[in-house]
Symmetry: C2
Subunit: 191 residues, 2 copies
DNA sequence: TCGCCTACCTGTAGACCAGTAGGTTTCGTT
DNA sequence: AACGAAACCTACTGGTCTACAGGTAGGCGA
């Protein structure tokens, strides 16, 4: 058995899957999950719909892969997170409207009944709020300068990030997302 | 011509239309706009899908009616709006998860390309931000206690409201939407 | 009473969609 | 050279969707 060649086959397959996930991200951004047809995703990577089903046996499996990709994406080690880095994250997002649009669309859909991403987002927000609390506690201690606890501030922080994304996606000319977020951070930071 | 009877016919028709719009709100909350089939809405009011099309000739027309209903809903005269009333609005919303879910789902979908509600939400947010600026200026003058202008605060206010709604819809047990919103208001109000 | 309008209905066209069945080609391994 | 698996494809099933076409029944005004 030649490891080199065996790997190259596996690698190529893995690359194909990544390609497909990337295409799925795009199509979901454009049409939402419900509106994203397997055929549309397949066409974007030069496959037939059935060829795509060879890599992901169901549409749901493809969605799972998309969500896992996202998890990997912002799985930055907790220690490197600091409040000032949040501003850079928002700035970074402002340069990648595609990704933001994908997950804003998915978040919106996920509140509907029985949506396959609902559990994911519920769990994710719980984690993110917790993580934010930690960051805030490290930065400010048990009370922010304005008197709120980190646990009560975290939902607001998350809400501002998401809410600004929708306003910005709908009307990027009128909404300065990074600027507004910095405004919010100063709101938290000053006493 | 008997006005009384003519009116009663028109009234009955208008009532039917309102019934349909209400049913559409429910179905959209459950499955989003794309996932909401005319047949599902029709069934809920005891009509066939084609019977429904007699009242709203296209699915789009039904959506327009839904959005118009919403506009009428929060078309409270500007003068009665005050910052302290915003907290009651959020509290009120917390008692009507159905409506919140409908419009959160629609907002999420609206960021996708060519969505029929996109223009509506874009325009709406522009108006709401403006309106919020006015409220804040009336309340605080040209500078909030924290130093921000009303124009820079308004997007944050709107973002917090929307963002909290998503977190709350996904996990009402963990998120105290009205409480968190009050926290944010005190954040604005104290110097 | 006649005719018209409203409020529905059945039937169906024409798309699309996820997923199955069962091929064939390509290619690395033995 | 033979084998087997991976990587696709064609063909199809059974379903759902919006919308159109063309009916019918009942009430209202003339």
């Amino acid at each position: 058995m030649s490891y080199g060649d065996a790997m190259s086959a596996r690698v190529r397959s893995e690359e194909r899957r990544a390609e497909i996930v990337r295409a799925a991200l795009e199509v979901i951004a454009e049409r939402g999950y419900r509106g994203a047809s397997l055929a549309a995703v397949a066409e974007r990577v030069g496959l037939t719909q059935q060829g795509l089903l060879h890599y992901f046996p169901t549409k749901n499996a493809l969605l799972v892969a998309v969500l896992e990709e996202r998890d990997q994406w912002d799985a930055v080690p907790d220690t490197t997170w600091r409040a000032d880095l949040l501003a850079s994250l928002v700035e970074y997002n402002a340069m990648r409207p595609g990704i933001v649009q994908t997950f804003s669309a998915l978040l919106g859909e996920s509140v509907t009944e029985g949506h396959p991403a609902r559990a994911y987002f519920t769990e994710r927000y719980r984690r993110v709020r917790e993580s934010m609390s930690c960051i805030l506690r490290t930065e400010y201690g048990d009370r922010l300068p304005n008197g709120l606890t980190p646990e009560r501030t975290a939902p607001l922080l998350v809400a501002v990030m998401d809410g600004l994304q929708y306003q910005w996606l709908l009307d990027p000319e009128s909404v300065d997302m990074p600027g507004a977020f910095r405004d919010f951070l100063t709101l938290l930071g000053e006493r």
